[in-house]
């Protein structure tokens, strides 16, 4: 009977080697960062044995760089650390608040941005914000590295674009231009601890007069994957984010959504609420845009 094994490599090369070695021996391998999704799934969905490759010891998965032109967030950094980073909160407050919404303080002590993305839940809270902020995935491959825009990374329910033997090192972003703000809002029935029933991540750039010159709107928990909604962006760009533009953006989000009805909400409800969240998140993002230099 196959059993579990655990490895905690210290370099990227070691990690890639462990993945390759166990895979070619016919063992199931799984990469782990914070483990807050993995351990739950092992216990409740599929407890079959595998080699767990812990990537928390790698420099590249722990590095947080908020630079003048680029931001890099290592895949294994726990949410508690991201929330504590003032420079990150200045540039990408929406992303930070999305990460911060996941679970409880205890979950925040372990759960990572990279893990939330790789888990690829339709309701993953970080993903709409990652997409709105135009994040780019930095992936370790046996041959080196490759990059992939975040909106192409999640390919289905619980499915990501990683090939066997690859793992996520981190996510990078261009440092937002001046007068750019982002925000993420989700709807949950309680005040904490729930999986998002619907979510909206928005990034807007304003000119000196408050007219929107750029926008990205991404919606979550209303389709198998997060959806970038160009129609919503179009409704915002060129407007001063008045109610008419917001309503149109919201409507575009409702139209783009293809939600299901499940124990967390009905399709109809999700479609309605995602529009509300788009509008509210856009307002917050706009306020933040006005405050930045």
């Amino acid at each position: 009977m196959q059993s579990f094994a655990y490895a905690a490599p210290e370099t990227v090369k070691q990690a890639l080697d462990v993945l390759a070695e166990h895979q070619s021996a016919g063992r199931r391998v799984q990469v782990m960062a914070g483990g807050t999704d993995l351990l739950v799934q092992m216990r409740t969905l599929d407890g079959s044995p595998r080699t767990i490759v812990d990537i928390k010891k790698l420099a590249e998965t722990n590095r947080l760089d908020v630079g003048a032109s680029e931001i890099y967030i290592g895949a294994a950094i726990p949410g508690a650390e991201l929330s504590a980073s003032k420079p990150l909160a200045v540039c990408l407050p929406g992303l930070v608040e999305a990460m911060d919404l996941i679970g409880s303080t205890q979950i925040q002590g372990r759960a990572s941005l990279g893990g939330n993305l790789c888990n690829a839940s339709p309701a993953g809270d970080t993903i709409p914000a990652l997409v709105a902020d135009a994040g780019v995935c930095v992936i370790a491959t046996p041959g080196g590295q490759r990059e992939l825009p975040v909106e192409q990374f999640v390919v289905g329910v619980g499915k990501n674009a990683l090939k066997p033997g690859e793992f996520l090192l981190g996510i990078k972003f261009k440092r937002p231009a001046a007068r750019t703000g982002d925000a993420y809002l989700r709807f949950i029935p309680r005040t904490e601890m729930d999986i998002a029933v619907a979510g909206a991540g928005v990034s807007v750039t304003l000119d000196a007069k408050g007219v929107c010159t750029a926008a990205r709107v991404a919606i979550g928990a209303v389709a198998p994957t997060v959806i970038l909604v160009p129609g919503a962006a179009k409704a915002l760009i060129g407007s001063s984010l008045d109610d008419k533009a917001l309503d149109a953006a919201g409507a575009a989000c409702s139209a783009a959504a293809s939600p299901i009805s499940d124990k967390r909400g009905t399709a109809d409800y999700r479609r309605k609420v995602v529009a509300v969240l788009c509008k509210r998140a856009t307002k917050i993002a706009a306020e933040r845009a006005k405050e930045t230099r």
Partner: protein, 160 residues
């Protein structure tokens, strides 16, 4: 199945144990190390009864593999009291009747300790959101929040 040998520090004491790679820290604490103060309420990270501090950071021990504790420091409920004396948080929980059945209490005390170590002067809202991952079914949270507020005052030196 081959077991892993792990060396770690728990409540300031060097400890070692053998465990399966897939065993959670919670299971090892309770079954291998007989530190049963940390409780299992759900094993899926939704109730906080298994809360411990990992290198001072609040985590659910049910969502941590025991093997991951190697080389790290854990604090469990058994390590909160200072030798012969209760920690002010523990005292205040008793004074405020912030426990009824007591099963969630170890988790809350560990979580409250993490909160007050980080933020010595939290507002009521901050306390409630910080502790949202700790479920209590008996108290309705009211007296727990008051106990934490009072403990914060004591730790700030403003009261006994």
């Amino acid at each position: 199945m081959s077991k892993v040998h792990v060396e770690t520090r728990i409540n300031g004491e060097r400890m070692e144990f053998l465990c399966e790679p897939q065993q959670s820290m919670l299971d090892v604490l309770r079954d291998n190390l007989r530190l049963t103060g940390t409780k299992e309420g759900c094993a899926t990270g939704d109730c906080g009864a298994c809360s411990v501090l990992l290198d001072g950071r609040l985590v659910c021990s049910c969502l941590m593999l025991a093997v991951e504790s190697g080389g790290h420091e854990l604090t469990t409920i058994e390590g909160v009291a200072r030798g012969d004396e209760l920690h002010p948080i523990q005292r205040k929980f008793l004074e405020h009747a912030a426990l009824q059945c007591g099963i969630c209490t170890p988790g809350f005390i560990v979580a409250a300790k993490a909160l007050l170590d980080e933020n010595p002067n939290p507002t009521e809202e901050e306390i409630r959101f910080y502790l949202a991952g700790n479920l209590c079914r008996c108290t309705g949270y009211d007296k727990i929040i008051r106990a934490v507020q009072d403990a914060a005052k004591t730790l700030r030196g403003e009261a006994a």
